[in-house]
Amino acid sequence: MTRLSISNAPLRVFDESVVEFLGELSAELLKSPIVRRHPDLSAFAFYVRKANLARLQGTMNPGGGRLGRGLCFHIAPANIPVNFAFSWVFSLLAGNANVVRLPSRDFPQVDALLEVVDGALGRHPALRERNAFVKYPRTDVETTAMYSAMADCRMIWGGDRTIAAIRAMPTMPRCVDVCFADRYSVALIDGAAVLAADDARIARLAEDFYNDTYLMDQNACSSPQVILWESDSPSARERFWTAVEAVAKRKYVLQDAVAVDKYTMLCEEAAGSLATGRVTRAGNLLYRVELEALPKDVFAHRGRGGLFFEHSLKSREGLFEVVTEKFQTVTQFGIDALALRDEIVSHGLRGIDRIVPIGQAMDIGAVWDGYNLVETLSRTVSAS
């Protein structure tokens, strides 16, 4: 265990040196051939483009002096490779120094990214002194405790159990924790819109849905587990699922273990729940379980590798009744997102932080899980 010496004096929010550094990083990444092989890396490279950062800065609450909180300690999730980089960037933009714990598993895109980051930091010695990327086993709680004791804020990814364990460690009294707990997401589709769309639109919708779900085996919190249908009709469902199955057939590699897991889940669901009705299953790529009613514990129903729950929504109230603080994302097609947002607010719901078009479930942003991250990770200096 090595004690890091790290400079933790706060910088301004969107400090020029930071924006310039990220712009360079973006340009270099976009030149690198490995980025083209990893869509998550190129998404990151695009995100930290100078123009995008300027746009982001424009959306920030201006008034007053905003400064970083000091040192931010990031605990990145183990299974989503590039998440650590986004976490780091939000904190960097907020004006903090950073210790970033990398995913414990090895990913080629993490190594590639770090190499470029290292090169770029070499030309920004002042920032280099403020940022450290560390990798150690999850079981090494002493190191996590040491960084926690130093931190002015912590970004804790990785689910309920990780959060509980890390929050139990002593921190400074003013330390701010941003916790990303286990969340649950659904899709909301307007059947009439599916029928009205042309074939090209449906093909794109199916690709988008595939990217939200199959691409990561439905492991992400923002991957929809239940598909809720408004203006429901058998022909709309048929059209949608036929297109999705065609994409899955073309792209998805069903691992043997996932096929077994999925079938086991299907049987468990059938055995366990009175709410589950019929199962649609042709081949092993796509399983659909019809929920006659939305159970109160709908968040306990999770699929994997192409197992989806479906429900015909008679009214939004039916959804709102089961929404808890666990609900994160609604991916939608053919829905008025702003109207839905207003309904969520007027109903005083405890969950649903995010409504995005189908295809953007994985697109992380500076507002995530209901937090405005740059704001949360910085402090306001007020004067009157």
Partner: protein, 359 residues
Amino acid sequence: MTLDDLFMIDPYSLNEADKESALSGILSDRTRRHYANCPEYRAILDGLGYRPDAGAVALERLPFMPVRLFKALELRSVPKESVVKTLTSSGTSGQAVSRIFLDAENVRNQTKTLNAIISSFIGKGRLPLLLLDTEMIKKDRSMYSARGAGIIGFSIFGRDSTFALDADMKMDVDKVAAFFDRHSEEPILMFGYTYMIWQFVVRALEESGRRFNAKNAILFHIGGWKKLKDQQVDALEFNRRVQGVLGNVKVYNYYGMAEQLGSVFVECEHGHMHCSNYSDVIIRRPCDFSAAGIGERGLIELLSVLPTSYPGHVLLTEDEGEILGVDDCPCGRKGRYFKIHGRIKAAEVRGCSDTFEHK
């Protein structure tokens, strides 16, 4: 045909057509019985859209239960009061255990079946039995584990049952030597778990330099090969090394699951794992669960006529294997014979990447 009819004939006597007709009748009846008596099983078949009609269903079309279901659910087709034994499988460390509920009839049929199968290899008489394990496994009644159950189950084939290992899993060489002396003029039977035998008998004796010289022994061993595979030890090497430390031993590996105790699969002299009349194997393609042909790798589904008190008669395992042939093994045993390749590879957790570019 009924189970009782099967008990009347040699356990490896049915050819493909006769077996399909016998087993489809018995297993379809099992499906109906479990459907009527096990609510979870009924809900699963309802969910899958399977209706158990009267009459026999082809083996390939019988609905299969994933074996892990027995870890998640308590599946019973008899009233709680009828359960005389609850069997737990040890499973991989840190995981939930399976619970298998047995009534008296089920236990009786398991014993009769194991008896029929093993007797066809060793003859009807009871032989002196050396158990290559510790007696502790039998004494620890707090958990009726599959390992303990296996030891107790096998003991019916022997007399003068003697445990070779002490409580610390060390071989009691004096006790074993005395056993060999007592029975130097007759065939002897040995039983144990593959890895235990490797670790605490073969390796231990090799290190100590002590050798025994059995004149005519038969060893049955059961259990996973994973750890041995990691050490590059295959069946031939295992047999050779067993013979190196114990003498003239005929080694039979067999395969059975806690979920289908009794109807075990024994590897013949030609290295082929055989189904008996009481069991069958189907290989399923993971992509759509269709039945694979001879020589095609896939998921192993195991069928057993025995499970009556729990719905475990048709199980999808998490092992990979292939059917090598049917009715034509040079050993003369009828039925399908197959090869087990081991546990399916654990799923890789997919990140956000690299599926885009790969076509």
